[in-house]
Symmetry: C2
Subunit: 347 residues, 2 copies
């Protein structure tokens, strides 16, 4: 690694951080392609200030690879099923390389048919979902994605967990500005944020989860140790979470969030499920250009007093990171360098 | 009308109710096709106990038609845009006849391409959304629909309303059982339910809306008279509502919820916007049949203590209505017969 920084500095360029993460992935048993895709994904989240899906995830990636739970060398098998339907068998590997492998075909189909769907199965998704949709909007397309995860959410009206945190991400192009992008867990709180709160010893807001006895709790550790999360927005969030199970698992041929058993793989952290992406070409729509219309919606949203769009904070942090480097505390940087097998005598 | 009931009875067969509603539509200026589609839709909602979108809506349909705001004789123009993309110009008519006109082509495309999208614009949607998706699941397809409506929801973080109640509906086939179907407003409460509460003089739960000064209120009348609704689930429901504006308006060429002006049409109640439907053929998916998989998910949901699926209550009420007739109170029935121009001397 050759970060253009003083020893002891806690600021890295995007390139330097990506290279460091790539080294970690390679060292723990991934192909160079998998290392490249995952490192770019994780460094991008850190760059954007999306800390719960940034380098915070690296120990989980490493322990999962070490456990033999995921195939770091998997080569995704892309299947051209129909004019608007692409399938990928991720081969028990990560979802992001599967998406990368299918992306050109998916985009070609979306532009030709006006809409196309990508069904990824037999895959592990351990990252934020917005990086999967945002690049389509950068190309002028509208994208929607859902991924199911692992049993930790109690369906509304039930008394034990079944669903995953099951996020929904959406991206749409916007004239003369960064795309409109959001990524929301259908749980009341993202699992990564519970982990971060537990690490910091912070209490959670009410209504986020239950303890191992099914009783409401604001203690993140009680949620992580035998407890469970609640869906956001009561029965509505719960219905959306159910939809994510159906789209990401039933419609892809992947596992439901409750169907995999990693008990023989201590250290495994990545849910072995499926992911669905729908990509639409807005140039097929009637009327004024979509990007002009989405810009008009944003203008009106600001007009009624909205200060910040979903994604604005990320884009602001991205600009800062690109100008000033990505800030990492010394302990985190040391840990990353250890995982990369670098000498830390100088640190 | 020839309901097989005693005078004074408040129970009608589905056929009799449909015929009564059809007469009302025809009498107030729709084509026979529009009357047929809307009557079946509205009677079906009443049959299923979905009262806020049942005959409760008829006065609104009638006053809208009388106001000249909507074209009851519009003939939808179906455009075959691409292998997976169908557009319809509803011609300032209702959305349901536009969907009915495009449905065969949409289904053919979905089965061939694996996925297809229907973009309806220049349309008025005044009904529940689940009747638009459920029939696709009856045919073995997965369907998702969104429709925007009229400014009455304050985006999370803003201080004045902009979005509509913007519902999302989803339907998926299930082996040996009625499809899995949900229909949820992205507002904290559906507009129809606020109207019903106002009519009954009931208070709303907290967190549903604000009064004309933007202050929280539980008074449905304060919400209807210059106030506004809140999105469900805070910033997440708000993001989904924004997505509905983008998909149902920007992607169809329809109006955003804030773009139409009906001030010159007193009595107009129907939002003049757009609607998007996405239909997927699950037979293109890998692995076990989708309907078997969705049945497995339902089985597991019951296994964790869920008593009732979204849609269960509707299907139960549907069975009851088909066996015993659709119960209507005398006042409602009298009002419907008046709208239909029937003599009520005998009642």
């Amino acid at each position: 690694m050759s970060a253009p920084h003083d020893q002891g500095s806690s600021s890295l360029s995007l390139e330097a951080l990506t290279q460091l993460l790539e080294t970690i992935f390679l060292r723990h048993g991934t192909s160079s392609e998998v290392a490249r895709v995952l490192a770019a994904n994780c460094a991008g989240a850190e760059r954007d200030g999306a800390h719960s899906h940034g380098v915070f995830r690296m120990p989980g990636y490493v322990s999962t690879l070490q456990s033999g739970w995921v195939n770091g060398h998997a080569v995704p098998q892309v299947e051209d099923v129909a004019p608007g339907f692409v399938r990928v068998d991720a081969g028990n590997g990560f979802a992001q390389p599967a998406l990368a492998a299918a992306r050109p075909l998916l985009m070609e189909k979306a532009r030709h048919a006006g809409i196309a769907v990508l069904a990824i199965r037999n895959s592990h998704h351990f990252a934020a979902l917005w990086p999967d949709v945002e690049p389509f909007a950068d190309e002028g397309l509208v994208a929607l994605s859902v991924v199911n995860s692992m049993t930790c959410v109690v369906p509304h009206g039930a008394d034990r967990p079944l669903f995953g945190t099951n996020p929904i991400a959406f991206a749409a192009p916007r004239a003369n500005a960064a795309p409109i992008v959001f990524d929301l867990a259908t749980s009341a709180i993202a699992h990564g944020d519970v982990q971060i709160a537990a690490r910091k010893g912070e209490k959670l807001p009410a209504g986020m989860g239950v303890d191992s006895l099914g009783q409401p709790t604001q203690d993140p550790k009680a949620i992580l140790e035998g407890g469970a999360l609640l869906p956001f927005g009561g029965h509505k969030g719960s219905a959306l979470s159910m939809m994510v199970e159906l789209l990401a698992a039933a419609l892809t041929g992947g596992n439901f969030s409750f169907e995999f058993d990693w008990s023989n793989h201590p250290g495994a952290k990545t849910p072995w499920t499926g992911q669905l992406l729908i990509v639409i070409d807005p140039d097929k729509a009637a009327g004024q250009s979509f990007a002009q219309r989405s810009e008009e919606l944003v203008r009106q949203m600001h007009g009624v007093g909205l200060k910040r769009l979903p994604g604005d904070r990320r884009h602001l942090q991205r600009s800062r990171s690109m100008a000033q480097g990505i800030a990492l505390d010394e302990q985190t940087l040391r840990q990353l360098r250890e995982m990369a097998g670098e000498s830390i005598a100088q640190a």
